[in-house]
């Protein structure tokens, strides 16, 4: 049975540096995915991922397991991305042209050309809509929708109350829905606000 994150952290803190390698193998791809969706494609993703893991390596010796390792790691990644975006005047680096070239649309094997084009278009539209979200909402959407963190883990990573996480997600999803409708995405028709 594979050791848990917490066990690996403990092993590292007891002097077994190879435990960190296991943690990296477990989390590297997920951290890269989050960074990719927060700052966009490009060389920055690798740099920021490395910076995140390096900071984690330096801080792991004194990490007190009051929060989950995953929350702590994502917290580092978010801070690294925020720093980079602050230096870039707060803009997201998502390049839609690049997305259309390199984005994995996730289509099943054997789609028709039309389906492939539609899937690519949708992928690009989704990327554009997510990158257009305010930073706070974008972070919550990425962590929840794409990283699959629980609300509690997101609250720990962002250091905000649970209710704030849910409010940001609700608003972010609402804005995404509106943006995709504006871009003509089928099936995203908003419904009228509920009345009690």
């Amino acid at each position: 049975m594979a050791p848990s994150d917490e066990e690996l952290v403990e092993q590292f803190q007891n002097g077994d540096s190879s435990a960190f390698d296991v943690l990296v193998r477990r989390w590297e791809r997920k951290v890269q995915g989050a960074i990719y969706r927060l700052v966009g494609p490009g060389e920055d993703v690798r740099d920021l991922s490395q910076e995140t893991l390096l900071k984690a390596y330096r801080g792991l010796g004194t990490f007190k397991q009051e929060a989950r390792f995953s929350s702590w790691l994502y917290q580092i990644a978010l801070n690294v991305c925020r720093d980079r975006m602050r230096r870039g005047r707060g803009k997201s680096y998502v390049s839609f042209d690049e997305l259309s070239e390199t984005g994995d649309t996730g289509t099943e094997p054997g789609p028709s050309a039309l389906e492939l084009i539609e899937a690519r278009d949708l992928s690009r539209q989704v990327a554009a809509a997510v990158s257009a979200l305010p930073q706070e909402q974008r972070e919550v959407v990425v962590l929840k929708e794409y990283q699959g963190l629980t609300f509690l883990e997101i609250a720990e990573a962002l250091d905000v109350p649970l209710s704030t996480v849910k409010t940001r997600l609700y608003r972010g999803l609402g804005q995404l829905r509106q943006e995709l409708v504006r871009q003509g995405v089928r099936g995203g028709t908003p419904v009228p606000a509920p009345t009690s």
């Binding site: 609300f151 609700y170 829905r177 099936g187």
Partner: protein
Amino acid sequence: MDCDAFREEMMDLLYEEAAPAVARRLDEHQAACRACRDELSSFRRLRRHLASWRTPPDLGRVPRRFSSARPYLAMAAALLLLVTGGLALKGSELRYEQGRFAFRLGRAPEPSALSAALAAQEQRHRREIDALQATVAAMSEKATLRKVQRMIEESEARQATIVSAGLTRLEERTEARRQYDLAQVGAGLSYLDGKAGLQAARTTELMGHVLQASQKR
């Protein structure tokens, strides 16, 4: 449960994190409220759209600078410590004097050995000074004068050569300057000559017109 309460808890239902009791209440509400049911459905459709954006497979691996560096750094530090400690125990010394580093391997000489080395050095210098004095004394006064005279003549010859070369360069520069000035004067005169000729031609032409006009009258 009213619609506001449903919206507050809807995210838990959408991401299947609602506790069973909460999920039951939410289901009951949406069964009775079409607007809330439709909104939850639209968010579920939206999630399917969001899933179309996946990360490219070629993001690449992050270089493991942090993990692999540690043992090597530790080994390098240990090696450095070992070498430094060994050299220190051997009495080696690294000094910086007069813009140069000096490294001595092994222990410094004992005071007695140093004194002996200094005494030997002094004796060698004395022997060299004595030999020089003996050479000077062996030379006669006339020979010295001849030697000095020859040195003065050589010096004067060198000075004469230098002065001669300087004069030649000065003469060349003066001649070049004179040629240049002459050319400038010549060009100026040609210009003036051309202007005067043109003026005379115009005056003659004017006078011709005047004469023709007076004859017509």
